[in-house]
Amino acid sequence: MPPRIDATKCDGCKAQDEPLCVQICPGDLFVLADNGVAYCRELRDCWDCMSCTKICPVAAIETRVPYQLGYHLAKLVPMMGTNTITWTCIDINGKVERFRYKNRIEPD
């Protein structure tokens, strides 16, 4: 399930040595283009772990279902909070679901 990058939102994580998606992708699939925007070098190699989508500081990355597997257009958007994560899911019929839960507890 390949990532899709909104070029109008992506600023290439200017303050970082490498954009966060480039740093984190377990498949080494992100590249920073000369125009300062990140792109996925090989859509078919994505495992849809969503690490890029979770870490992007400007929510410029969306994980998409390839049409060969699922219909147009569903969305799943994570928002990382302090020790919580909130997900918004919209299915192809426009039905919205929200999920919010603790993904960390304070360490001992």
Binding site: P2, S51, Q68, L69, G70, Y71
Partner: protein, 582 residues
């Protein structure tokens, strides 16, 4: 940081790094190796080679929704070994390894909770069991939590460094070599002891969704775990065990996501196209609690018999249960919730469709991997294995892999007492450097082969001839011979592989590693002339169990002849009781 592409081998910088303990692969097991090593030996120099970024690498990168084994107060480590043994049809399993991993299991899981992992508990504070042994977690942050603790040890983590081979001093492993995907450097890591924790091998077989879609990697297992650790050991003659026991599981159709979440966690029965409960046909083998390979194979038998599609029946779930179920998925494979949304599916009206996965080699779920001693040292001196690379103990899962990391760390520290670093063998370094970078230096006019072309050739070969999904996991002697013949051609053809850049060079070495591991798998499948674990290992020419083969099938490469040698080792029952029940 831009990738630098060299045009000549002399432009490649070699960096030599010395360590006491080298860990190849900073995943679940590898992080625990570092953490335990630091606890045992505060002054130790620890180095981690990591192909990706340690915060989100390996099998746990997308998260986890359960710890599949945690011993409840009324059960013992021996009970867990009994369950583990029954789940693989009575074994043979390595009960010595299983028992030692079980004895420290709860402590390792408690570590994770102390570090910040949410484990779900009831009102009285007791952990919530979703089955007999597995507990529910909110593990979206599982890998970052492990990684933070590993980094806190002060270990030097080399992210984006691809391991390619072991560094040897005669027959002893004294470190490893590899290359940097970002900086194009060649790395030589010298170490007194080395733990290989690179995970299992995905992508030896074709995934049924991989044709012409943007889903070549629509696999249950992390597709970036390609079996590199196995390949590194293989080249030094390390012994393998049980590589024919492939991990095949019932997964969600077209997505290939985890299904125990639903079938175990929400008691959703497997049904066929007629709405009949499939596991009722397997009552004599335990029904819904039948061994894992029976449950994995059952839906595929329905398809083959013309009774597909097959489903996990979720139509009885309440709205709260649906919400909890989706929350579980968001912790482990969040994109499955997206996939359901892309079908516009209400799972209380339409049940979740299921199908068999592509086969994986994975010492964390099944028991394929290196033959190790009780210290987790492989048959190559100085090289230890932990987690999915270590064979013999199936159903290890997250907790068992963590314990194995700890055990191997303690053993490695004991092993290195009074050892000093070996002299560097410059010829060995030069030869490997040349081998590693050759595909990048063949020149623009070289008429060669891309990694993906060779990978797809190999995956289709394994799928059709060595018992992949398209063949309902079945194979026979003639098909395996065909597979071997062509794997040999592929092994010879790797000299035509060509890389455009450093990322591509990683893909080239991944396919080389996969081809070598695939050959080992085929030798194992050939030797087991019986059908012991239908689905995991099905021989149409030998459909029954042969009591003579109630033993481990082993292989190693003979370093003089280059041939793979196959032999057996006996099974030893250490934990009392009937092997087939728990």
């Amino acid at each position: 940081m831009a990738e630098k592409k060299p045009t000549d081998i002399n432009e490649v910088t070699t960096e030599i790094i010395d360590a006491d303990l080298l860990i190849i692969g900073g995943g679940n097991a590898g992080c625990f190796v570092a953490i335990e090593a630091r606890k045992q030996a505060p002054g130790l120099k620890i180095v981690i080679m990591e192909k990706a970024h340690i915060n989100r690498s390996g099998a746990c990168s997308s998260g986890m929704d359960a710890i599949n084994t945690y011993i409840p107060p009324d059960k013992t480590p021996e009970d867990l070994v009994r369950w583990c043994r029954a789940q693989v049809g009575g074994g043979p399993i390595r009960e010595d390894l299983a028992l030692s991993n079980s004895e420290e299991l709860n402590e390792a899981v408690d570590d994770l909770e102390r570090w910040g992992l949410p484990i779900l508990r009831d009102e009285d504070g007791n952990v919530k069991y979703r089955g007999d042994w597995d507990i529910s977690i909110h593990g979206e942050q599982l890998k970052p939590i492990m990684a933070e603790k590993a980094i806190e040890t002060g270990a030097d983590v080399y992210n984006r460094v691809v391991g390619t081979t072991l560094l040897m001093d005669g027959e002893t492993c004294v470190g490893a070599m590899g290359f940097g995907i970002r900086n194009g450097k060649f790395y030589v890591f010298r170490a007194k002891a080395t733990v290989v924790s690179t995970g299992g091998a995905c992508g030896l077989y074709k995934s049924y969704t991989s044709d012409s879609t943007n889903s070549h990697h629509q696999t249950w297992m992390c597709p970036y775990n390609v079996g590199t650790g196995y390949a590194m050991g293989l080249r030094q003659g390390a012994e393998f065990t049980s590589m024919e026991q492939r991990w095949v599981a019932t997964r969600s159709k077209d997505f290939c996501g985890p299904i125990d979440t639903i079938s175990v966690g929400y008691k959703a029965p497997i049904i066929n196209g007629k709405g009949e409960r499939v596991m009722d046909n397997y009552e004599h083998l335990g029904g819904d609690k039948a061994p894992r390979y029976i449950r994995a194979n059952a839906p595929m038998e329905e398809w083959l018999a013309g009774r597909g599609p097959t489903y996990c029946d979720t139509t009885h779930l309440s709205p709260d249960e649906v919400k909890a179920l989706k929350t579980d998925y968001l912790n482990e494979r969040p994109s499955f919730v997206l996939f359901l949304a892309s079908l516009g599916q209400d799972i209380t009206k339409d049940p979740i469709e299921i199908y068999g996965s592509d086969p994986y080699i994975n010492g964390g779920h099944t028991q394929s991997g290196f033959w190790v001693d009780i210290d987790r040292m492989t048959t190559v001196r100085g090289m230890f294995a932990a987690g999915e690379t270590a064979g013999g103990h199936p159903n290890k899962f997250v907790g068992g892999c963590a314990v194995e990391g700890k055990i191997s760390a303690r053993a490695a520290i004991k092993y290195m007492t009074n050892l000093s670093l070996s002299e560097l063998d410059q010829d060995q370094v030069d030869r490997e450097k040349e081998r590693v970078f050759a595909p990048l230096l063949r020149g623009g006019d070289f008429d060669g082969v891309r990694a993906i072309e060779m990978e797809e050739r190999m995956q289709r070969l394994m799928d059709e001839y060595a018992g992949g999904t398209s063949q309902f996991y079945r194979t026979n002697e003639e098909r395996l011979d065909y597979a071997l013949k062509h794997l040999n051609i592929l092994r010879d053809q790797v000299k035509f592989l060509k890389a455009e850049d450093l990322h591509d060079l990683m893909l080239v070495h991944e396919v080389i590693d996969r081809i070598e591991v695939a050959e080992v798998v085929v030798h194992h499948l050939k030797f087991r002339k019986e059908t012991r674990w239908q689905g995991w290992q099905t021989r149409t020419d030998y459909p029954d169990i042969d009591p003579e083969l109630d033993c481990f099938v082993e292989t190693r490469r003979n370093l003089e002849s280059g041939e793979i040698e196959t032999f057996t080792r006996p099974y030893e029952q250490l934990v009392s009781g009937d092997r087939y029940s728990s």
